[in-house]
Amino acid sequence: MNAESTFSVVVLIKRVPDTETRIQVKDGKVNTEGISWVISPYDEYAVEEALRLQEKYGGKVTLLCLGSEDAKETIRKGLALGADDAVHLNDPAFEGGDAATTARALAAALKKMEYALVLAGKQAVDEDNAQVAIRVAELLDLPHVNAIIKLDLADDKKSARCVREVDGERDMMETSLPAIFTAQQGLNEPRYPSLKGIMGAKKKPIADWKAADLGLDPAHLGAAGAQIQVERYDPPAPRPPGKIIPGDPATAAKELVRLLREEAKVI
C-alpha cells in the first residue's frame, strides 16, 4: 500500500438466514429449504461505511465473502448497494469450517489484496460467533477496533479515530492504518439498493478464488481443519404457557407481585 495506490476498502460479508425467516430444526439438522438469505445485518453497516468512505475519498470498495456458490446472490446484493467488485472464496474445501479456518482463508485472501482498511461486522447473526474478523486482524498482524459506531480518518489517511461501545462504556479509540474495524449498530443507516444499482450489479466482476489460489493446504481449511464442530441442532425448549393476569391495573399488579414472590420467587 503505497501513497500512489488508490484508496481501497475491503468489506467482509457473510451470507446468513434473514432473522425474520422461519428456521425448521429436525433430526438434529436445520432444514435450509425455504429460508431467505441476506447479508448479515452488521456487515451491511460495514458495507454502508465503506461506500461513505468512497464517496469522501474516492477509490474502490471490494467485497470479500467465503461461502458456497449460493453466496453469489448475496454478493450481488452488496454490489447492488454500490460496491465495485468482489472476491468469492468459493471452494468446497472452505466449507463446514469453524471461525479459525474461515479466518485463515479470509486472511490469506486479504494478503493478495490491496486495502487501506478492512471493514467487517461485529458478529454474523447466524451463529453469533463474534470472532472471525478479529481473528483475521491477528493473523494479518493488523490492529483492530471492535464494535465501532463512528469512524473518522485522519487527513493523511494514515490513522483513524473511532468511537466504540462495549458493555455500557463508550470509548474514543485511535489506530494507525491499515486496520480492521467491526461495525456495530448505530454506525450508520444502511441504504437500500437502487434499481440502477441492481441492474449494474449483474455486470460487476466477482473473482472466484479456490484454496489453491491462496496457497493453502485443504487439510487446514473447512471441515477438515476445523477444531470446533457443530454436532447437532435442536429446537429451543418450549416455554410453558404463561398466565394472563386479569383485573384492573391495581388488582393485576397486586396479583403479579404475589406470583413473583410466591411462585417464581424472584423478588
Binding site: I149, E174, Q185, K243, L259
Partner: protein, 328 residues
C-alpha cells in the same frame, strides 16, 4: 496432557465482575468430567483486592497481571490479547473460560487466533462428556440450539452471564501469583473513555431488567420504567424501536443486534416481542409482559402477562412493590 481449567476473570472498578464467580461454577461442572485444577487469571490495574476476592472463590491459584497500562480505561486489544496469551501459555490449561461480555468476546477472539485455538462464544452450557468438551449455544436468533464439540483440546469457551449461579467467595484463600507483563507495540488503543457505564447494574449482568419499547411513546415514557427499576434494583433496557426513535441509548438495546440478557426477571413494557428482540432475552428465567394488545407475540414467551396500558400498570406495579418491600 494438562487438564487444568483457566478462568479469565474480568474486573470493573477494582472488583471482579459477577460472571467471574459464575465461571467457577462452570469450571466445577467441567472438572467433574475432566479432573484438573481450577485457576484464575485477571488483568488490569490495582487488582490487589480483586485478586483477594477471586482467591477465595474455591480455586487453586490466581494469576494477576497488574499494570497501569492494562487499566480498562486504556484498553488496547493488541496488548490485552498478548498479555492474556502469555498467561495462557504459562498456565497451560486444557480449557480457558471467559464471560461472554463485550470485552470477553473481543479479547478471547484475538488471543484464540494468536494461539491458534478453537473458541466457542456465548455458550449457555459446558460439559465434559466421554472425554470431549461439549458446549451448548443458541443460534439463529435463538430459533435453534447448537450442540458443539471441540474436536481437540486446548480450547476456549465464553459463557453467557447470568446462566450459572455464582459461587460464594468465602473459601480459604488460594495463592496469588503476580505475573510479569511484557509490553508489546500497540497501534489501536483507547484515547479517551467518553462514557463510563452509567448504571451500577450493567444490563448484561443485571438480575432484573425492565425494558421499554415503542409502546412507551417517547423519552419521558421511560420515567415510570426507571421508577419501577429503582424499586427492584433493576437495569433498564429497550427494544430497537425505542432506540431507533432516539428515546434511549444504543447501549440499552436488548436483542439480536443489541445486548443478550438472561436475568432472573425480565419485564417487557410496550414491546411486541419480535423475534430479534426475543433473541436477546428469551433465556431469561422469568418473563413478564405488559402490553395493551392481548395478541402481542410477547405473551407467547411470557410467564406472566398483563394485558393493559403500561402507563397504568407500571405505576401500579411500582406502588405495590413499594408497599410489599416496606413490609419486609
Amino acid at each position: 496432557m494438562p487438564n487444568n481449567i483457566l478462568i479469565v476473570a474480568e474486573t470493573r472498578d477494582g472488583a471482579p465482575r459477577k460472571v467471574a464467580f459464575e465461571l467457577v461454577t462452570v469450571a466445577k461442572q467441567l472438572a467433574q468430567g475432566m479432573g484438573g485444577k481450577i485457576e484464575v487469571f485477571a488483568m488490569g490495574s490495582n487488582l490487589a483486592s480483586a485478586a483477594q476476592a477471586l482467591a477465595q472463590a474455591g480455586v487453586s491459584k490466581v494469576y494477576v497481571a497488574d499494570d497501569a497500562a492494562l487499566d480498562a480505561s486504556r484498553f488496547a486489544p493488541e496488548l490485552h490479547a498478548a498479555v492474556l496469551a502469555d498467561a495462557i501459555r504459562a498456565a497451560q490449561p486444557a480449557v480457558v473460560l471467559f464471560g461472554a461480555t463485550g470485552v470477553g468476546k473481543e479479547i478471547s477472539a484475538r488471543a484464540a487466533a494468536k494461539l491458534d485455538w478453537g473458541l466457542v462464544t456465548d455458550c449457555t452450557d459446558a460439559k465434559f462428556e466421554n472425554g470431549a468438551l461439549v458446549l451448548t449455544k443458541p443460534v439463529y436468533a435463538g430459533k435453534a440450539i447448537a450442540t458443539v464439540k471441540a474436536k481437540s483440546l486446548p480450547a476456549m469457551v465464553s459463557v453467557r452471564p447470568n446462566i450459572f449461579p455464582p459461587v460464594e467467595a468465602n473459601a480459604s484463600a488460594a495463592p496469588v501469583e503476580i505475573v510479569a507483563v511484557k509490553m508489546v507495540n500497540v497501534r489501536a488503543k483507547v484515547a479517551e473513555r467518553v462514557k463510563k457505564a452509567e448504571t451500577a447494574v450493567d444490563l448484561s449482568e443485571a438480575k432484573i431488567v425492565v425494558s421499554g419499547g415503542r409502546g412507551v411513546r417517547g423519552p419521558e415514557g421511560f420515567e415510570p420504567l426507571h421508577a419501577l427499576a429503582k424499586v427492584l434494583g433493576a437495569a433498564v433496557g429497550a427494544s430497537r424501536a425505542a432506540v431507533d426513535a432516539g428515546w434511549v441509548d444504543y447501549g440499552t438495546q436488548v436483542g439480536q443486534t443489541g445486548k443478550t440478557v438472561s436475568p432472573q426477571l425480565y419485564i417487557a413494557c410496550g414491546i411486541s416481542g419480535a423475534i430479534q428482540h426475543l433473541a436477546g432475552m428469551s433465556s431469561s428465567k422469568n418473563i413478564v409482559a405488559i402490553n395493551k394488545d392481548p395478541d402481542a407475540p410477547i405473551f407467547k414467551v411470557a410467564d406472566y402477562g398483563i394485558a393493559g396500558d403500561l402507563f397504568e400498570v407500571v405505576p401500579a406495579l411500582t406502588e405495590e412493590l413499594k408497599k410489599v418491600m416496606a413490609e419486609k
